[in-house]
Amino acid sequence: MYAFLFFLIFLLIYTVFAVYAERKISAFIQDRYGPMETGYYGLLQTVADLLKLIQKEDIVPFKADKKLFKPAPVIIFLAVFAGFAVLPLTSDFAGSSAQIGIFYLLAIVSLDVVGILMAGWGSNSKYALWGAMRSVAQIISYEIPLGLMVVCVVMISQTLNLQEITYQQSIWWNQINPEAENYLFGIKALGIETTNVGGILTWNILRSPLMLIGFVIFFISSLAESNRAPFDIPEAESELVGGFHTEYSGFRWALIMLSEYGMMLLVSFLAVILFLGGWNSFLPNIGSVKLAEWTSGEPGTLAGHLWGAFWMISKALFLVAVQMWVRWTYPRLRLDQLMNLSWKYLTPASILLVLLSAVWRLLMI
């Protein structure tokens, strides 16, 4: 329940500043300043925008299918926000530690598609319809490499529980599982035990180096999942005006944007949990210099919460920043290039990775 409230508030605040950050990053990349006038260094620009959006008239096109048009943004937002339910924020603070956490997340996020379809169809606009169809085709296509990467991690971790996946990447693993052992690159034969070293060495990207590639694939697919450039053909401004949210205005539009940024954060959190050690510090213990322990409190203590939240959020925000960086670097992919990338490159690669990580898992035992 607290996690629910926390994520709701955090999501709102995060979105406000993510929009600001996005504008700043894009500006810096293009040798501009970005917003400068509202507030110090333009800090309040998004707040002002938000106020404006909320005051705006809620325009519903006359010919729109109102039964579909109106609830669509809510459904999109709900689908994204429901995903936050299973995220562990710190070692002892998580929404639901459901056994099937990651699986649930994948499923609930796919509800997003329904909202987009409703919005696209209900708007009674060709741009919205095309945008929705492209968006759905894209999301479904990229769900496959995304899901397969999740499968890889699950095979390495042997659990679907997100909290447990994170614990496995921490120095506290043996607190919940006394027999726990971590080895460098996950291979026992190497003989370098890292259970108590922690840090970056126990992150999934190093527990199984294959995950490095996996992480890249996951990141690319997650960009597509959240309709971010360079995979933003669903809302390609130059051809589709605004894609599925062309007809929306005011608060409903704000909700759609909120879910887009929420989705960015969600996939970043997911990537952090699955590959980058979740709430764990990246500093390893080196001999008697217990960097890992110093920079991550014991689970359940206040320090544990603070450090955990700090690492988790800063890692996720870093990934969000990378998403923005990527967005303002690459040109938009064409539809056929998009599908090519998914079906000819990412999917085969991820299937191969699934196979390889199964083998890796055998080596880990």
Binding site: Q99, F103, A107, I108, V114, K126, L129, V136, I140
Partner: protein
């Protein structure tokens, strides 16, 4: 417990309502979206019966896959707005009689059937289904069925793509 009961009836209500809505509505698209609601309701009920995995699979496959396919099908067969989405109904009387008759039959048999006396029924509800045991039994006892299903799915996938040809590539999305 109270909350759980309320939630249970809530999901059951959603399911029943949306199912009836499908029967009544004449708009295919609304029917499709009501079907989503049905599936979500059923998924919720699955959770209450300790079948979390099935519930999630239900959402993932039905909502994320089949329904999107359905809506795409509707969009493609209705020429992207060219045609009305209404469907005619016919043989209302027969249809209603038959289904109502079968419904009555079901109700009667459910009431008269003493399920709790079946030999394999364990009276203690074991709520938590271990995900591990689920996976294990899937990969041991039912491995043949599992493989067959996999192949079936693959064949269906290829078949769908082959049938639809260039017209639609979404056939592959069902996977």
């Amino acid at each position: 417990m109270e909350l759980e009961a309320i939630l249970f009836y809530f999901f059951a209500g959603i399911t029943a309502f949306s199912v009836l809505f499908i029967a009544v509505t004449r708009n295919i698209l609304y029917a499709a979206f009501a079907l989503i609601l049905t599936f979500i309701g059923v998924a919720g009920l699955f959770v209450f019966m300790g079948a979390e995995f099935i519930a999630i699979t239900q959402i993932l496959v039905y909502v994320g896959g089949i329904l999107v396919l359905l809506v795409f099908g509707i969009m493609l067969t209705h020429r992207l707005k060219g045609q009305k989405l209404k469907t005619d109904r016919y043989q209302m009387l027969f249809g209603f009689l038959i289904s109502a008759g079968i419904f009555g039959l079901f109700i009667q048999s459910i009431h008269s059937g003493a399920f709790s006396n079946l030999p394999w029924v364990d009276q203690e509800y074991s709520q938590e289904v271990e995900l591990k045991s689920f996976g294990l039994s899937l990969m041991t006892d039912y491995v043949l069925a599992f493989e067959v299903i996999g192949i079936l799915l693959l064949v269906a996938l290829i078949g769908a793509v082959r049938i639809a040809g260039n017209a639609r590539k979404e056939g592959t999305d069902a996977a």
